[in-house]
Amino acid sequence: MIVELGHFALILALLVAVVQVVVPAFGAHVRDERMMRVAEPAAISQLLLIAIAFFALMHAYVTSDFSVLNVAENSHSTKPLIYKMAGVWGNHEGSMLLWVLILALFGAAVALFGNNLPPTLKARVLSVQASIAVAFLLFSLLTSNPFVRLDPAPPDGNGLNPILQDPALAFHPPFLYTGYVGFSIAFSFAIAALIEGRIDAAWARWVRPWTLAAWMFLTIGISMGSWWAYYELGWGGWWFWDPVENASFMPWLAGTALLHSALVMEKREALKIWTVLLAILTFSLSLMGTFIVRSGVLTSVHSFAVDPARGVFILAILVFFTGGGLALFALRAKDIQPGGLFQPISREGSLVLNNLLLVTAAATVLVGTLYPMALEGLTGEKISVGPPFFNMTFGPLMIPLLIALPFGPLLAWKRGDLLGAMQRLAFAFLAALVTVVTVYAVEHRGPWLAPFGIALGVYVMAGAIIEWANRVKLGSAGRDEIVRRATNLPRSAYGTLFAHFGVGMLMVGIVATSAYREEHILAMKPGDRVMVDGYQVTFTKVERGRGPNYTEDIADFNVKRDGETVATLQPAKRLYDAPPQPTTEAGIHAAWRGDLYVVIGDAQPGGGYAVRAYFNPLVRFIWLGALFMFFGGGISLSDRRLRVGAPARTRAAMPVPAE
């Protein structure tokens, strides 16, 4: 009954969305206020209806209602409650329902908090947002309906893939989708503004918080996925350049570019055409990612051709919104008035460079992701494009980006002083130099370029602090003055500090882990020991254990450093009941200097185990860096000037001189 109610609510949501597309758009066209105002209640009821559908499905999962095909295929009665709930989005149909739920959530948020928007713009934004919802609700209902019944109901379900039964992965999709789908708002704003024919600094001010929120969630979603891969897949790797990862990384790169170009537009009214184009492209990459992950094209180009309904449907959605958006852009872009002028060496110039490099990097990732699929489709030849491709293409583009990064905030708008910025960055150059020398002195292994990579990260971190120190006049003003300036600095300045500092940390972590990882593969019996980067690791015993829905062999490793026990690691090999599938659980001892990471393989005839032990230096910096970027985004979002619905303060009232 509840399942049918959910199904019905989803159909009703589709009808509401159709109304939300048509009525407000027509109302905005004929300037009828009552018709335009239909958008708000429509957006909110659309959200409520999709939420009813979503929770109806969740109810079926929690109560293990195996008469629902989707539940029978993806759940099992003995699964812990949290994974029954997370199981809702651990499959194609359910994850598409989550997709539309988040889409509706953003639409309703604009309806509720977008009070300062001009009524016609608001009506059009919500209309465009609803048109995306119509497309995906149709997709869900016609090709991926999660509410299909199964008769007779099987006694128990197939279960959720055990490697997905993990806390980090349970919450990875909601965060990731919030980011992915959140860029739809930037898209809707861009299309609405193109229809409206009015694009100015105010537009950028409205778009930026939504883009920032989406970007934050995408950042944390991607890093959760990476963290999960690190400890769950048992390879000690954290990024594989897998098409599924790339699918979320491309919108992130474009979204990062969009955040920065919208900044230029808001402050200087420049780059208007580019920012609008970027808003369209960013969401198009989100749609492209959805296509790659959800169409079956990944399983095989071949299987995609055999069962094309889903793939062709998403492809049609992608073509309609990207093609339609770009066509409208081509028609209207020439009417956009060019904005403020600037010299190449200026804040604007540095942000253009940022955009150029980020978008080019996204394009190389796109080529590396689509080329194998295209080649297989056209010639039948199968290739894999792995990390070497991306290291050769993506890597070199990041170097100038990171070198230029600290300069940006130090250059003035319109016309910057490059030499002055270099002088202010002297301390950062010095920090980089000291890093190179220190790393060479400490580490003799690894590629010769690695110390420079770490130094580049340190330079970015130092640059972020220098910018802040500069603004509070650290070193030149008195203590009280510094405190006063530090407290009066807008929160967005702290956001920049944290986010840019995080980028530096991320770089340090990536280079250190990739270049100086220590790896041991050996056969060990209880009593054997191995030295891993100064840790004495002793294999003590293996025991058989039983979890809620699995049996496991848990090994015990005693870890000593300088003769003292610092940790006991318990890597395990689990065998789940349903589906019967093994997983590897890594034993990790985390410290600032790096992670000791131990996994066991299968038992060998002589009573031994194959053991992999790694030391991953500074690997925590990767996720810590991402966390800093997330918090930086959050601090920036809480800035009064950006807060959704907050009245704009006049420039004169601002406590800090204009940047």
Binding site: L69, E73, L150, P152, P154, P155, N158, N161, I163, G234, L298, T299, S300, H302, S303, D307, L341, F342, Q343, P344, V352, L353, L356, L357, T360, A361, A363, T364, V367, G368, Y371, P372, E381, K382, I383, S384, V385, G386, P388, F389, M392, T393, P396, L397, I521, A523, P579, Q581, P582, T584, V599, I600, G601, D602, Q604, P605, G606, A610, V611, R612
Partner: protein, 156 residues
């Protein structure tokens, strides 16, 4: 600088960045892609020893030899031909006799294959996509669990 010159700098910078990226992509596509072959492909297409490839097929029943050390031997078969593979390390969770596998490495020139990576990445139907497709193309009948969609049919 005049407006025109400024625009020139922007466009020039953009074109230069794209050109560099294009050159990098072309070089990378030439040097760093890895072709996928089944054991019979290797014979048919004359893959040379030392060339990095991905070898895909099924792990032959009864062929896995785990020694006391960390080197593991097994055979990869597409039911027409098989190739002995050596691999040093810990096998992935889903490595199993009779099931699909992808090994990355080089031919050793003596009829064997030396893998440095073994993938048993797969979808929920226990078969890496490259393997399933390549085997089907060779007319190999796969077990029920290997076919996408068969899970539904198996349920009561």
């Amino acid at each position: 600088m005049t407006r025109k010159q400024k625009r020139g700098v922007l466009i020039g910078g953009g074109v230069a960045t794209l050109a560099i990226a294009l050159i990098l992509v072309l070089f990378a596509l030439k040097d760093s892609i890895v072709f996928f072959h089944t054991p019979s492909d290797i014979v048919e297409k004359g893959v040379l020893p030392g060339q990095r490839i991905r070898l895909g097929g099924l792990v032959e029943q009864g062929s896995v030899v785990r020694g006391e050390g960390t080197t593991i031997r097994f055979k990869v078969t597409d039911t027409l031909k098989d190739i002995p593979v050596t691999f040093t390390g810990v096998l992935p969770d889903l490595f199993k006799e009779g099931q699909g596998v992808v090994a990355e490495g080089v031919l050793d020139g003596h009829g064997g294959f030396k893998a440095d990576t073994v993938l048993a990445k797969h979808d929920e139907n226990y078969m890496p996509r490259d393997v399933a497709k390549a085997l089907e193309a060779k007319g190999v009948k796969l077990g029920a669990s290997a076919h996408p969609g068969q899970l539904k049919a198996e349920m009561p």
